[in-house]
Structures are given as C-alpha cells and as structure tokens.
C-alpha cells in the first residue's frame, strides 16, 4: 500500500525531455520548411534572405515575450497591435518636433507609451475584475482611436528619422540583424528569469490554479498587473523598433499584430488557458510562422495560402497540445493505478 510510486522517476525524466522537445520540435519544423524551400529555390538560403527571415520574426517574437507572461497567468492582451502603432507614431512625431533628440530617448519613450497602456490594462483587469479579454479588446479600439486622432491623416517620413536610429533595423553582426540580437537578448533574459525567480514561478501558479494561488498567499493582483505592464512595455518597445525598421508609420502601423502574436505564442506551445509555456517556444513560434510565410512567397504560392497555412498550423499546434497533455496525463497516472490496485 505505497502511497507514492517508486517507479515514476525514470518515465518522468523522459517525459521532461519530451516537454523540452516541444521547443526542439518547433526548431525542427523551421529547419524542415527552410530546407524544403531552399531545395526549390536556392536563393532562400542566401545571407540577406536569412537576415530577412529573422528581422521579419523579431517584432512578433518580442511582443510574444510579454504576451507569454500574460497568457501564463490565464489572461490575454489583445491591445498589443494598437500599442505598436501608437508608440511608433509618438516616437516618430518627437523626432519630427525635436530633430536632435537622442536615439536612446526614442526607445525609452516608446517603451513608456506601452507601459502606460499596459498599466491601465492591468489595473482594470485586477481591480475591477473585468475579464482581460474584454479589457484589452476595449484597449485595442481605444488606443487605435487615440492613435488615429494624434496621427490625423499624416504620416512620418523616413527623412525625419535620424540614421543612427534606423541602423538597428538593417545593420547586421556576423550576418545576424541587430534587431534580432536585441530580441534574442530579451527572450534569453526573460526565459531565464521565468525559470529562476519566485515571482515568475508565481505567474505559472496563478495560471495553473487561481484559487489555490490566492490561498497560498500569492499577491495575484500585483503579479497579473506586472505581467500586463511588461506586455505593454515590450509592445511599446516593439513600436519604437517598428519605426526603426520601416522608418515610416501612419495610423495603421501594427494593426493585426495581436493575432499574429497570439498565433505565434500558441504555436510555440504556451497553453492558452495558462500555467505552462516558455518564451523560447513563443519566439520560435514567431520564427516558424514567418519562415512559412516567406517560404510560400519564395515558392510563388498565392498570398491567400499564407493565412490559410497559418490557420492550419494553429489548429495543428492546438491538436498536438491536446494530444500531448492527454498522453502525459495517462503516463503520469498509470503507475499510480497499478500501485493502488495492490
């Protein structure tokens, strides 16, 4: 009548590596898509093409880091696309109004714009206890509306953006775009923090079982607020980088990004109902989606298929998730059953 089992140590170890293989699996998928397309069209593997693949995925991956934090807590942030647009335009306008503004101030300003929206999302969600889906959907429209008012039909032109600012969008180091390097650093630091710090583990606890988290004395409101704050800030930073990458922005900048980001995060293995997932997975999800997009373009497939493939991929990812969790649940339970029968 043993309570706990003696057997599970080894299967669970294997299981653990299976879980880690989730990231490996997405990485493999990227390689397969890349390889297949290159066989078809060797130009796909050229340096500039690879740099383009990474740059194209960078902003989505960066916003995906913040979105991952929010989704882990069983919430969602739909306002990120609008924040990108607002932040990009505000930073651009300041460069127009103050031509000598230091480049760093531009990035800080963009981040601050996002932080304000993130803080508001977090406050309404945690204090008024309104579902974040509704709060951030409202924020999506409000921020986009405010953006349209400020933009007022104008656009920021490349001539007004200092060259020192746009450099991050096209310069490379060892063939890797600086933009991708910056995002990789954010992913790395956040990923490490999520594994290693108490407050970060509490985000997983909140998403895994909100009631138990409250009973465990976790300040759930403060943690969820922080997740929204970071998500907003990173979306704001992404807006500033958007301006650096394209050097131009109008009132539609970043629209639709929220769905790209959530797709990337879910494809990357972050459970949509919270409690599990990694930022590395989310970033790889962004790379995979972008690689498939580019591959379809390089293979001269109609752009209609782009979206269809992205949707199919999302379904496959969710089905795979379900299959995996059922498999794991069975795996974790089976030794117990064998034991309790004795």
């Amino acid at each position: 009548m043993n309570l706990a089992t003696e057997g599970p140590v080894r299967p669970v170890r294997r299981l653990d590596s299976l879980l880690r293989a989730r990231e490996l699996g997405i990485g493999l998928a990227v390689v397969v898509v890349f390889g297949a397309t290159t066989l078809n069209n060797p130009a796909f593997a050229s340096g500039t093409s690879i740099a383009q693949l990474l740059t194209g995925a960078s902003l989505i991956a960066l916003i995906g880091v913040g979105e991952t934090l929010v989704i882990i807590t069983r919430n969602v942030d739909l306002s990120v696309g609008s924040v990108v647009g607002l932040s990009a335009y505000v930073v651009g306008r300041e460069f127009v109004n103050h031509p000598g503004m230091p480049v760093l101030v531009g990035f800080l300003l963009g981040t601050a714009v996002g932080a304000v929206v993130g803080a508001l999302n977090g406050l309404v969600t945690t204090i008024a206890r309104v579902p974040s889906l509704v709060v951030t959907l409202a924020a999506l429209y409000i921020v986009r509306g405010a953006d349209a008012l400020i933009v007022n039909g104008k656009r920021i032109d490349p001539v007004n953006i200092p060259a020192a600012y746009t450099v991050i969008g096209y310069k490379t180091v060892l063939g890797i775009p600086w933009l991708a390097v910056v995002v990789a650093v954010v992913v790395g630091v956040t990923g490490y923090a999520l594994r290693s710090f108490r407050s970060a583990r509490e985000l997983y606890a909140i998403g895994s079982n909100p009631d138990a988290a409250a009973l465990a004395g976790i300040p759930t409101g403060r943690r969820v607020f922080t997740a929204f704050l970071i998500s907003g800030s990173l979306a704001g930073l992404a807006g500033a980088l958007f301006l650096a990458e394209f050097a131009t922005v109008d009132s539609t900048g970043g629209s639709g990004y929220e769905l790209l980001v959530i797709s990337a995060v879910v494809v990357g293995g972050v459970a949509i109902f919270g409690g599990s997932g990694t930022v590395l997975g989310a970033a790889l999800g962004a790379v995979l989606l972008n690689t498939i997009n580019q591959a379809l373009v390089a293979s001269k497939v109609s752009s209609f298929w782009n979206q269809a493939v992205a949707g199919a991929l999302l379904l496959i990812a969710i089905a795979f998730d379900r299959w995996l969790s059922l498999r794991i649940a069975r795996r974790l339970r089976s030794p117990e059953r064998a034991n309790s029968d004795t």
């Binding site: 606890a205 409250a214 009973l215």
Partner: protein, 505 residues
C-alpha cells in the same frame, strides 16, 4: 490524552461573526487552541466550521469578535498574513498547481534561494525528498502535480504544512478521501507535530477518528459555539445531541413503510472502470439508500440509471420496461427524476428566475404549439413553492438569491412537478441548515407514504439510518452489502464501506 495542556492558549477566537450578504454564516465562532494539543471542531454541515477555518486561514475577515495569538490581538489581511503568523491549513479539497512540479507545490513562494535570489532547484528537490522521507512516502519531487491521486495530493499538502513549521495546523476534513492506512499515517504526523508543541485543529465528521486522536472537542451548531470539553467528558451520544440540538426523531420523521410493486429494477449494471455487477430493486413507497465513501461510485450508479452516463453492461428496467442506455430523455419519460448532488452546478440555472427554474422540466406540458404559456408556468411554480413551503422574495427573482435550503426545495419542486414514480436524490440535505433539513426529510417522507419510490444517496450516516428502509453499501464500485433498516447501524455501514475494515474488525 497523556499530556494535558495547562499552559496558556496559543490561539483564541472569540465570538467571531460573519455574514455573506443577508446570510449569517457565523454568529458566534469561538475556539481556543493550546500548544501540544489536538482539538476537534465538530458540527453538522452548515454549522459554521468551514467559516471558522477560513477566518483562521485569513480568507474571510470576521465582521465581529476577537482573534488573539499568544495573547496579542491580530487581524489577518489575507492568507499570507495568516501563514506568517504560524497557521497552516490543509483544506478538504487539495489546492495544488497541476502544471508545476511537486517540489514547487510544496515550496511555492518559499523556494530555497541561491545567489542573486535565484531558486535553488536542487536544494528544493532535496528538501522535498527530505519531507517525504519524514512522512514515510516516496514521491518524485520533480514530477508535475498533474495526475497525482487524491491521496498523494493530500500528502503534498501535508508536506507543505510540515515545511512551514506551523504553530497551528488546521485540517478541514482531511481524511474524507483517504484510506485507513493513509489516515493512520496522517495521525502519526499529527502526533509528531503535537510533540513539537504545535496546536492542531481537526475538523472531521468521523467521530471515531476524533476519539482516537484528539484531546479536546468544540461543538458548533447553526453558526454558533455550543460547548468545549475534554475528550474524556463526552460520548458519541452527547456529541451528536449537542451537534443536532434536538431529538433525532424529529430530524428524521419516518412513517413505517409499506412497499408496493417494483418500480425500478437494476440488473448487473456496470460501467467499465467505474462500477460493475450492481443489482437491486426499488419498490413504490420505500426509500432505498446508497451508502459508501465518497468516490465509491454511488453518484455514478445514479447517473447511469438516469442515463447521463451510458452503462456498458446490464439493464435498467422501469416497471418492467428496459430503458435505453445513456438517454436522460428516456429516463424522464419513464418517470424518473434526479435531484443532483451539486444543485448550483447541476440542479439549477442560477441566474434564471425561481419560477422559470421550477417550470424547466415541465415545459412540454405547459406549452401549446411550441409556445410556453407564461401564466401556466407561473401557476405551476407557485403551486410547488407553496406545497414545499419555500421562502422567497418574488417569483421572478433569480434563484441564486434563495438560501441553500430553499434552492434545494426549488430543485425538488422542479422534479416533483413532473409527478415522477421514482425520485433519485443525491445528497438531499448537503449544506442545508438543520431546520430546513428536517423539512426536506418530512417532504420526502410524505411523498413516500403517498407511494413514491426513492433512491437516496447520502454521505451522512444519520440521514441514511434515519430515512432509509433498506441500505445498499457500495465500495469501490461493487455492491458490498444490503442492510435492512433493523440491522443497520453506523458501525455496520462503515465496516461494509471501508476497504480492509473487515480484516481490522
């Protein structure tokens, strides 16, 4: 028993009150805990025990009264404050994080740290193994909590409480889901903690466990403190009398029954992996009770009879006619009504008006050309509300505004309005105050005298003994015993219900 505490009390809760909206859950919560002593908190469902536990846990803030620890008045701002004051709680339902590892569950918020405030996973897993060693179990600290059996989840909770080095350990019915071996282990942990000077508050319905492990008892009734006494000065009878506050005869009115023809007959009923070889009959004018431990498969049998879950073997007959498997519609047409265990989730549409809820099962009868006639709906609801003596504000108020007892009456009314010939009722009086409880029992008794057949599932043994003509005991999905009203007593039922009990007895 051996060590009588003569020291100063460690924790004193005095005259605590707590209301939720118009419902007064606690009018006088008082309990005094001494170091090195196990203290049992007893009372019926709805007596206010859980509210006391949640006040100690910092989940609820009392509206009035005083809480003192070591003589100092304290007020908890939340669960974290309670924990910081040295109180550790084991809830009836495990409160684990399924996605996190077992070790993280034990140490959430208190993970061992290495340099730079980083979590030291190796140390955390080692410390968890250490705790499991002290509890005498082996469990991989690195596995996710997902998929653990309820007993193993409870072990994780106990390890968590142990790791807190709590001064006060509160256990809210921790043994409900445990087997006797696991209960023994839990008591061993309790003894160890007491020897280290901790105070234990033990909430349980199982009086034999209380006599085996506690030095002092506090009894509550209807939200109020009744008495505290050393265990040596009370008996099972005196405890029950204090808990119930009235004679059992009035709580369980029972007219001698005169069973008629067979209404329901169940033959070799089975559902793979859940229960099998269940055979019994229910006659008109009798109450048959399904007794057994939580999780033994009682509710599952009822669900299969009603067709919510399909059965994989055997047959169900209503007045000789075989019922289609897995079809509640067929069961209802044959005259079966089911009052489910969880009225909030399964019995009622909480946001819908009282009259709509009551009429919900009779819409077919109330409508013409597919349109429900509002006046008939209303009059049906009023008829049943009056017959069941429901207390309510207005008929069109949401059913969620009713008290638990009146909600239960609404569920009863909804099914009785169909004039069933068999009523299956799962936990008829869970979470209902004693007054309404007696009323529900009286209603059931009247219906049975009028010829209704009742299949009742209940975890409360006094209710089973008080109401049933025959008692079927289910253990681990098998029909273990059938007891007549004359031969049934608590001991006989528990012996049949508890795995491994015959050997011990």
């Amino acid at each position: 028993m051996e060590e009588q505490a003569t020291t100063e009390p460690w924790l004193v809760l005095e005259n605590a009150t707590k209301s939720f909206g118009p419902v007064r859950a606690l009018s006088d919560g008082s309990v005094t805990l001494f170091p090195g002593e196990s203290h049992a908190l007893l009372g019926e469902n709805g007596a206010g025990k859980s509210t006391v536990v949640k006040i100690l846990a910092g989940v609820h803030r009392p509206d009035g009264g005083a809480l003192r620890i070591n003589g100092e008045p304290v007020s908890f701002s939340g669960p974290a404050a309670s924990r910081a004051a040295g109180i550790s709680i084991i809830y009836q339902e495990p409160t684990l994080f399924p996605d996190l590892t077992v070790a993280e569950n034990v140490f959430m918020g208190r993970q061992p740290l290495a340099g730079g405030r980083r979590i030291d996973r190796r140390e955390m897993n080692r410390a968890a193994l250490d705790l499991f060693g002290r509890l005498g179990v082996t469990m991989d600290p690195d596995r996710p909590a997902k998929g653990l059996s309820v007993a193993d989840q409870q072990i994780v909770e106990i390890a968590k409480a142990l790791s807190l080095n709590a001064q006060v350990l509160v256990m809210d019915e921790p043994t409900a889901a445990l087997t006797s071996v696991e209960v023994d282990r839990l008591f061993e942990v309790m003894r160890t903690l007491r020897r280290q000077g901790a105070a234990v508050l033990f909430v349980s319905h199982r009086l034999e466990e209380v006599f085996a492990s506690c030095q002092r008892v506090t009894i509550m009734r209807d939200g109020s403190f009744v008495r505290t006494a050393p265990i040596g000065q009370v008996t099972v009878e005196s405890i029950i009398l204090a808990m119930v506050g009235r004679n059992l005869d009035t709580l369980y009115p029972k007219t001698p029954s005169d069973p008629g023809e067979v209404v329901l007959s169940v033959e070799n009923l089975g559902r793979e992996g859940v229960f099998d070889h269940i055979s019994f009959e229910v006659r008109s004018g009798e109450v048959v009770a399904l007794a057994g431990l939580v999780g033994a498969g009682r509710s599952e049998v009822a669900r299969a009879i009603f067709g919510i879950d399909p059965h994989t073997s055997g047959v169900v007959r209503m007045r000789g006619k075989v019922l289609t498997t897995g079809s509640p519609t067929a069961a209802m047409a044959a005259g079966i009504a089911l009052v489910p265990e969880d009225r909030r989730q399964q019995g009622l549409v909480m946001d819908l008006a009282i009259d709509h809820n009551i009429a919900l099962t009779s819409l077919e009868r109330l409508s013409r050309f597919g349109l429900v006639r509002r006046s008939r709906e209303r009059s049906l609801a009023v008829t049943w509300a009056n017959r069941l003596r429901m207390k309510f504000g207005r008929m069109h108020d949401p059913v969620s505004t009713l008290s638990g007892g009146n909600q239960q009456k609404a569920v009863l009314g909804k099914w009785l309005a169909r004039k069933p010939s068999l009523l299956i009722i799962d936990e008829p009086t869970r979470g209902i105050d004693v007054g309404t409880k007696a009323e529900v029992h009286r209603i059931l008794d009247e219906l049975v005298s009028a010829g209704l057949a009742v299949l009742m599932i209940s975890s409360e043994l006094p209710e089973v003994l008080g109401m049933a003509d025959r008692i079927l005991v289910i253990r681990e999905g098998r029909l273990q015993a059938e007891l007549s009203r004359a031969e049934a007593d608590e001991a006989a039922i528990m012996r049949a219900a508890t795995p491994g009990a015959e050997a011990a007895a």
